[in-house]
Symmetry: C2
Subunit: 339 residues, 2 copies
């Protein structure tokens, strides 16, 4: 670290996640000496704000990374595929929020509360997991350590912000238009999202799962470093702006009572237990939005199997599910003198 | 049957389900000779429409059922507890949409496509199951017959209409107010429902499950006539007007391929397979609303266990989940000469 901090590039600075990255870097006082907001030619020239200062977004090119130490990428998989290696060759550590390198065995896939210890093994690129995976593994890790998770059945309730700014605009405009009696055909989503539920996120694969569902299956095993954990997922889009929720059913090797699970999760980093049903307190998107903790509640023993638990998990998908997790990784790089 | 049809009482005629019962009775040409719309003193005097004719709602009293042959109840559990026995003593067959008698061993709990054969055993009262249970068992029955279901893990996405007219009004008004920048504190729901997800339906029980969740557990076993089926449920309210959706994970004794399941469900009564992911076709609330079939799609083999299936089920909770199912039971009473 130079006395003044680091040179930080944010690729995709005008997007929903890029904007939040700038906010989180500022909020958490990440030592930024120089900020380099980058984007495709289409968005270059736009302005972004960081710590009260105005920045002009520069076009992303092969020469963008000279002198950059940390590059946060969130501009789509294709951009990362092309430019993460460029940034890494220029000497930066890329923290990539896309799907491009997550399952690459040479690339660490990191949720700091779960597997920060793999960070030093990076070769210039560190992958940030999928939003719906991050909030799930933060909660599952302490349960796995205590009782060994055998199987997970998860159904998600995912906010529109997961699909970007235009997706949120579509929910807003479509809702307004419907209330006003006007039609508003879908553009971002495959179907109407206002007052509807869409059981599809990302594209379908050969096995009938969506890509989003298989991310939850595969990334969970990689982050938890246990290929024996069996996962099945159904990922669903709901008419919410911020905050993904998940109904998670867990089967463990050793029996965990709800009370034990509650106690373990009460001590878990990054997790906030909100579990007081008598007073109608449980995690909800409106409470998770804007905060970095992952909320867990409705913790109860599964009455259908011997060693089972039901959990309800909610987190801000743009913060812990993307921007915050990436910045946390950058903070560890700083703290461990890895830049 | 008299030549002109039957005397039919609808208790709770001004409610969301009561209104739909009148609509479904008309649509399906149920032989109504005399219609008697009944409600509490508060709603008595209101007007309802049936087949283009206007009816004044009468106050429900002990004398309301003289001459009535079929009484459809949907005015809350307490009303049913008090007046179903009164109606039965007066000679009517009650088809009760509330929770009052569902788990009473002497009362048949009926989904016509699943267990119509228990109807003749009634002693004046037949229970209509919970909305979220009905649409699930219609789909599970043919799979159970073919491969024996061991365990079900279900997460629901339930529409506001399940909580009645005022609940739908709350979603509408709250959405409008939020878009207009006004606060709209919740009255019907425990929390804001607009652009939010609430993991609570009905009250909490000792075991951490809600009453709605335990209805799904217990009613499924009773309707499927198999106490060995293990069920765990998480029931969740979503900002949708009509149409409950369910992510259902099923473990069977015998292996069922997705193709076999699709074929079985393609022939199942009351079920419509909507399962063409390549063309983005799968069940959604906006498609289920207004129709009587239960839609099933996203049928795929569970990659986490040997004999598992994932299903996505959507139905109109006010129609098949309530009014239509009740009228179907009445139709069987007519067809089998049981009135």
């Amino acid at each position: 670290m130079t006395e003044q901090g680091y040179s930080v590039a944010v690729v995709g600075a005008t997007g929903a996640v890029g904007q939040e990255m700038l906010k989180v870097l500022a909020e958490r006082s990440f030592p930024v000496r120089e900020l380099r907001p980058l984007a495709s030619a289409r968005s270059a020239g736009k302005h972004v704000e960081f710590k009260g200062r105005d920045y002009v977004v520069q076009e992303l090119t092969d020469d963008s990374f000279a002198g950059v130490q940390v590059a946060l990428f969130s501009a789509g998989g294709k951009v990362s595929e092309q430019f993460c290696p460029v940034a890494a060759r220029a000497g930066a550590v890329c923290i990539d929020n896309t799907n491009a390198f997550r399952m690459d065995p040479a690339v660490p896939l990191v949720v700091p509360e779960v597997n920060a210890h793999v960070i030093p093994s990076h070769k210039g690129i560190i992958a940030n997991p999928n939003c719906s995976t991050i909030q799930m593994v933060v909660v599952l890790k302490p349960l796995h350590d205590a009782a060994r998770i055998r199987r997970v059945v998860v159904s998600t309730y995912q906010a529109t912000s997961g699909a970007g700014k235009k997706a949120m605009d579509e929910l807003f405009q479509q809702t307004t238009d419907l209330i006003s009696g006007r039609e508003h055909p879908p553009k971002v989503f495959p179907h109407r999202i206002a007052f509807n539920i869409i059981p599809q996120i990302d594209v379908f694969l050969e096995n009938g799962y969506t890509k989003e569902e298989m991310k939850m299956v595969n990334e969970t095993k990689k982050i938890m470093e246990d290929q024996s954990i069996r996962v099945t997922a159904t990922t669903v889009r709901v008419p919410v702006f911020y905050g993904h929720s998940e109904a998670v059913n867990v089967e463990t090797e050793r029996k965990l009572s709800a009370a034990e699970a509650r106690e373990l999760l009460g001590k878990a980093p990054g997790v906030k237990v909100v579990d007081d049903p008598v007073n109608r307190r449980y995690p909800m998107p409106i409470d998770a939005a804007g905060q970095d903790d992952t909320l867990v509640g409705r913790i109860r023993e599964d009455i259908s199997i011997e060693n089972g638990l039901n959990l309800w998990i909610t987190a801000d998908n743009i913060r812990k599910g993307a921007a915050t997790n990436a910045v946390q990784i950058a903070e560890i790089l700083v703290r461990e003198n890895l830049l």
